[in-house]
Symmetry: C2
Subunit: 447 residues, 2 copies
């Protein structure tokens, strides 16, 4: 009865092994299931796998599995197929569902229209409460599979949405009053092309179980229910996490994504970052003479550039996540920049101070360059750290704004990308500071 006791292990194992099985083995595995298991299994496959499996089955079987799906799931499946394979499958549906599926297919998968179902309960504003209740009861008993009867939508003849009445309200109202008098007119509806991330934000803000979707003229098109939104929120969080980790988002669970597909998703960004990282070699080549004269400068290269990368990664994380939650908008860039300037200075001072004492207390071989060399090197490290951390913080916090401004996903301001950007400039900052502060020592070493 409790979750822990309810684990249909064989199905789970089949699901987990699915991506390594050949097409023939998948078909065979599927045929081994009894009809109840097969239904549960088919329902838990991704739309992509459902489509692949369906196309392996005989045409007469396809009809059964396709009709078994809710219209929005059927749409997801059809969208996985090539354009020319769709009409044959569409024709397997009964006429009403076929119409509905065709309408839903016009929407992008990740907007309100693509998430919605058109099976919602509707009444007219001039019905009485009693008429509305018995009208709804008739629908419930007749077996029309409404997505929810908990909200009833009040539509004019032209389909314009004029009010919503919760079933609970209807249930607790005197039977002779018109629906118009008990309905809520101050409701929230979402436009059909609203991005699913924003639909999720509206759900979180208004705490409702379902949201009506309307077109530009206020005509009701369908409802999105909150249970679909939990999936959306998790999906978006996974996508953002993958992008932030510096790889193309996987569409499928990690263990069910094929080896070559994973390598491809990771190699793309890794190679790009590598090519960008080559600039660090060019930057360092400019300072090859200083390095040859004072090799101990090399020792702190990784420490300094890593500090810039780490502070940049913190800043970009905060801004990306705040943007995803609609807490920060494009127009807030200046507020964020001012804050991050202060934060970067504070964090830079902390690391700079620690760096200074690290050098002064444990000078190692650097003491050999004379008594003045140690504090000067300490100062070089401290000032470089300060500047690099400040620079990293500003780059990390502003890059998501820049990406969004360009119409790209701010989550692409990944930890690796910010680190790579900061690496090159961090090296330049470090060696310029060194060239300036250690001029005397460099001359002595050259002489």
């Amino acid at each position: 009865m409790e979750v822990s006791e309810r684990t249909p292990i064989d199905l789970d194992e089949l699901l987990e092994a699915w991506w390594v099985l050949s097409a023939a083995d998948r078909l065979e595995g599927f045929r081994l299931l009894d009809s109840e298991q097969a239904e549960e299994f088919f329902a838990s496959l991704s739309a992509h796998d459902q489509a692949a499996l369906l196309m392996m089955l005989a045409p007469q079987e396809r009809r059964f599995w396709l009709r078994n799906l809710a219209p929005d799931d059927a749409v997801d499946l059809l969208q996985e197929l090539d354009e020319d394979e769709r009409p044959a499958l569409l024709s397997l549906l009964d006429p009403a569902t076929r119409r509905e599926v065709s309408v839903l297919m016009a929407y992008a998968e990740d907007e309100a229209g693509g998430l919605m179902s058109s099976r919602f309960a509707r009444v007219r504003p001039d019905m009485t409460v009693d008429e509305a209740v018995s009208y709804l009861r008739k629908q419930a008993v007749s077996g029309v599979e409404l997505e929810t009867i908990y909200y009833t939508y009040v539509l004019e003849l032209d389909q314009r949405l004029v009010g919503i009445v919760s079933f609970r309200e209807l249930f607790a109202s005197p039977g002779s009053r018109p629906v118009r008098d008990v309905m809520l007119t101050d409701f929230v509806a979402v436009p059909e092309d609203l991005d699913q991330e924003h639909v999720a934000r509206v759900f979180a803000e208004y705490d409702v179980l379902a949201l009506p979707v309307v077109d530009a003229a206020g005509r009701m098109k369908g409802i999105v229910t909150v249970d679909d939104i939990v999936d959306v929120v998790e999906e978006e969080a996974t996508e953002d996490a993958h992008k932030f980790g510096g790889l193309a988002a996987l569409e499928m669970p990690y263990l069910r994504t094929g080896f070559f597909s994973i390598v491809r998703k990771r190699a793309g960004w890794l190679v790009l970052l590598f090519l960008g990282g080559m600039l660090t070699a060019n930057a360092l080549a400019q300072f090859e003479d200083s390095i040859a004269l004072l090799p101990f400068l090399t020792l702190f290269i990784p420490l300094i550039i890593a500090s810039g990368g780490n502070s940049g990664s913190q800043a970009s994380t905060l801004v990306i996540r705040a943007m995803a939650m609609d807490e920060v908008r494009l127009r807030d860039w200046w507020r964020v920049a001012r804050r991050e300037l202060g934060t970067g200075l504070a964090l830079g001072s902390v690391l700079g101070t620690i760096g200074f004492f690290r050098i002064v207390l444990f000078p190692g071989q650097t003491a050999a360059y004379g008594p003045g060399a140690v504090p000067l090197l300490g100062l070089t490290i401290a000032i470089s750290l300060m500047c690099v951390v400040l620079f990293g913080t500003i780059v990390g916090s502003m890059l998501p704004f820049l990406l969004r401004r360009l119409g790209l996903d701010p989550a692409s301001a990944s930890a690796p990308l910010v680190a790579t950007l900061v690496d090159v400039s961090g090296l330049v900052i470090y060696f310029l500071t060194a060239a300036f502060l250690l001029k005397g020592i460099l001359h002595a070493a050259a002489g």
Copy 2:
């Protein structure tokens, strides 16, 4: 009516400015609101800010605002206060709510018990459908604020949960049948101490609007509704994102977190990583002689360690996210390790090949070391990249398992932490490879 048209700007601005206002200004700003605005504003404050505001109000006002909250929200508020401030506030509640709040306060905020409400609809199994409907109707009309009437829970006299009947089912059933015959007995319930992340997974898997919470003996304690879960999922994703970005998770929206609080949350990890990063200086100090002899080796340090960090960040992202979604468990570590071994080899080969050709095609000053030097250096870079990427991939994918095994949050295997770990070992790999392959050139340079 649509979302875009419904922006109560003054409240939003007050909320955004809240964290910069002094206590006195907050109180004054709050007093300026009319009563309807004040209620909306109070409800949209975090529990932390609600508690702070409440304690500034006069005791007779406190009663009003506290009673205005749903029991679970009141619990959140009380948990923000010191132990000794709670009894006085608890005594302001009416006896029934006080009892409920006291029970809920025994649960941790982030487990099923801490999320649940005890205001659910309940019937006995031997009632008829008609009796149950009119019993529920009486409750709805009497104004008892049930969390949802859409599921009715069927309890024995000892509070054991024996079935669930959706209102829809009840509504569509013949009135004379006993509830026992129409209720669903194959339902999902969650234990009261189940972590909220797992509760969210159960919602996503079973697509229900509410889940019953039961104790070890199967007695029903309350329900968790799906609208609370959307918040939980977003909250958990934010926490994980912050940790992965290398900072302590913020509890409040970024723009509403105070400056010093943000600096503190970031400085902790930044300093730790900095101290860890100091090991890179020690590692490099071991190779100071090689660097002095062949300064061009320095040029590729940032490139090589960044490649290790980037591939590690990709691997840890994938594993952390898959763990958060329950797609990967502790016992899967070996499967993941094998996959990542293959992936690391593939990615390392790609970067190694590019690195090799980078050196051979644009040798720069390195050609000065003789005709054999260029391909040997190319090989050094290629082999180092290969090993570092493989090592980064393995560290990045296994660290989350290690953290979870130790009872820590796998999301702490952040991009910066993995990069820092890989930096030190990357340097050692690089210089050992160089010492081995470039032995001849090093000898010639030393001679």
